[in-house]
C-alpha cells in the first residue's frame, strides 16, 4: 500500500493528539476529544473540521459556466454569480460518478469541490469532455487546504477573525476575497445541517486561521463526528448512499436532476428512468442500524439494506439510511431491521432525523 498523504494541518492534529485514521488515501483526524462532545459543539456552538483532503478543480474561461452546467444534473447556469450549487456528476447512463459542490465565483471562473476518494475519477471524466468547450480545467487540490467551520456561532467567529465579507452573505453564497490573513474562498456551505462555512485557502492562511479558531476555543472535530452530523440531517455520502451503480433518482436526489434543462450529461437516460431503489430514513428504539444490515417488511422479507447507520447523539437513538427496492416499498410503511440475530421494529421518518439550523 502506498504511503498515506497528509493535509497541511497534519502537525496540528498530532499536537492535539487526535486519533488518526486512513481515509481516501489520507491520514485524517477521526476524533479529538470525544465524538459526542464534538457533535454537541457543532449543534450548539461551533466546531472546525480539516477537510483539506477534498479535491479542488477550477474551470476558467468563456464557457466555464456552460461546461459545468452541462456536466452537472442540477441547474448551475441559472444560479447567480457568488452562489454555490450542490449536484451529482453523472455518466451518460445516469449512474453517479460523484456528488460535489460547484461555486460560481465569477462569470468565467468556477470552483468545483469533490470527494477525496473520487478526485482522479472525477478529473478524468471532466477532462474527457472539457475540450468541446472554450474553457480550461485544472486540478489544484494540492494548492488548497479546506476548513469547515460549522455551528450557530460560526459567523461571529469568522467576524472575530476578520475574514467575513462585507454585505449580505446568505446560505450557499461563495466569494473569493482578500483578508488580513491572505486570499480565501469563503462559502456558506457544509455537511452538518448547521449554519457554517467552508474556507479554501493556501497553507499559511489556513494554518493561521486554524490557530485563531483554537485560540477562540472552537472545538476541533474529526471525521467520526462529521459522519454522525451528516447522517442526523440525512445527507448522502458517496460510497454509501451514492455509487457508480445507481442514479440520483434512486437516492432521494430527484431535486438535483433538472430534467427541463436543455441538455446535460445523462439527460436522455434520466428523463425516462424508473428508479430501482428508494432511499429512506429509519430509526430504532433499541439497537443501532449499521451498514449492511437487512431491512425487512412486516412479513419479514428482505427489501433492502442499511447504507449508513450510527447512534444519533442529538436524538439519543440509532438511526440509519437505507436503500430499499422501489417495487417492494411497503405501503403500510412498516419496516424492520435485522440487527445481527434479532429482528427489530424500525420507525420510518419522512423528514430528516434532526433539523439543522442552517440559514
Amino acid at each position: 500500500m502506498s504511503e498515506l498523504q497528509k493535509t497541511g494541518l497534519h502537525g496540528e492534529h498530532t499536537t492535539l493528539k487526535a486519533k488518526m485514521a486512513p481515509f481516501a488515501g489520507f491520514d485524517m483526524p477521526l476524533q479529538y476529544s470525544s465524538v459526542k462532545e464534538e457533535i454537541i459543539a457543532v449543534r450548539e456552538s461551533a466546531g472546525v473540521f480539516d477537510v483539506s483532503h477534498m479535491g479542488e478543480f477550477f474551470v476558467e474561461g468563456e464557457d466555464a459556466i456552460k461546461f459545468v452546467d452541462f456536466m452537472l444534473t442540477n441547474d448551475f447556469a441559472g444560479a447567480d454569480i457568488g452562489k454555490a450549487v450542490y449536484s451529482p456528476l453523472c455518466r451518460e447512463n445516469g449512474t453517479i460518478i460523484d456528488d460535489l459542490i460547484a461555486y460560481k465565483l465569477e462569470d468565467k471562473k468556477v470552483l468545483i469541490c469533490v470527494n477525496a476518494a473520487n478526485i482522479e475519477k472525477d478529473y478524468s471524466w471532466l477532462e474527457k469532455h472539457v475540450h468541446r468547450f472554450n474553457c480550461s480545467l485544472s486540478n489544484r487540490s494540492h494548492e488548497y487546504e479546506l476548513l469547515a467551520l460549522q455551528g450557530p456561532k460560526s459567523e461571529a467567529i469568522l467576524k472575530e477573525c476578520g475574514v467575513f465579507p462585507q454585505g449580505e452573505f446568505p446560505y450557499y453564497s461563495a466569494k473569493e476575497f482578500d483578508t488580513p490573513l491572505g486570499q480565501i474562498i469563503l462559502a456558506r456551505t457544509g455537511y452538518t445541517g448547521e449554519d457554517g462555512f467552508e474556507i479554501f485557502g493556501g497553507l499559511k492562511t489556513i494554518q493561521t486561521l486554524w490557530n485563531k479558531f483554537m485560540e477562540l476555543e472552537v472545538t476541533p472535530c474529526g471525521l467520526a463526528s462529521r459522519d454522525v452530523l451528516r447522517l442526523e440531517v440525512a445527507y448522502p455520502l458517496y460510497g454509501h448512499e451514492l455509487s457508480d451503480d445507481w442514479t440520483p433518482l434512486d437516492a432521494a436526489l430527484a431535486w438535483t436532476v433538472k430534467k427541463d434543462k436543455e441538455s446535460f450529461m445523462g439527460k436522455e437516460t434520466l428523463e425516462d428512468y424508473k428508479p430501482k431503489y428508494r432511499l429512506i430514513k429509519l430509526s430504532l428504539d433499541k439497537g443501532i442500524p449499521r451498514e449492511g444490515f437487512e431491512v425487512l417488511n412486516e412479513q419479514e422479507e428482505t427489501i433492502g439494506r442499511i447504507t449508513s447507520g450510527t447512534m444519533s447523539v442529538t436524538l439519543g437513538k440509532g438511526i440509519g439510511l437505507a436503500l430499499v427496492e422501489k417495487a417492494k416499498f411497503p405501503k403500510d410503511k412498516v419496516f424492520k431491521i435485522k440487527v445481527r440475530k434479532n429482528i427489530m421494529d424500525a420507525q420510518f421518518h419522512a423528514k430528516a432525523f434532526v433539523t439543522g439550523g442552517h440559514k
Partner: protein
Amino acid sequence: MASEIPNNLKYTKDHEWALIENDVVTVGITDFAQSQLGDVVFVELPEVGTELNRGDSFGVVESIKSVSDLYSPVSGEVIEKNDDLEASPENCNSTPYESWMVKIKLSNNDGMDELMSAEDYSPLCEE
C-alpha cells in the same frame, strides 16, 4: 493517560477482564478497551442460559461509530447478565471494572490457563 489495571482480576488479549470466584467467572471490558472505544452507546448481551464455548462471541459493545464483539474467555453457561448496561451503557466508560457484562458458570477449564495477570496484561495497553 495510563490505564487502570486492578491486580485482583485476570485479563485477555481482547481487553476483557475476568473475576474468578470458584466456578463462576464474571466478565467485562477493561479501562484500556473503553478508552479505545470512546463513548459506549449500546451493549448487547446474551440471554441467561446461553451456553458459551471459549472464544464464542457473546455480545457486542458499540460506540457511536464502531461495533466490537465480546468474546467469551471461558466455557460455560451464562447465569446472569448485567441489564443495567442496556439502560446505562456509558457506565462502561466511567466505571469499567464495575460494569460487568455476564457471569459464566464454568463447564470445564478451557481458557482458564490463558488468562493473564495484571502484570502480564499491562504491556498490551501501551499505545
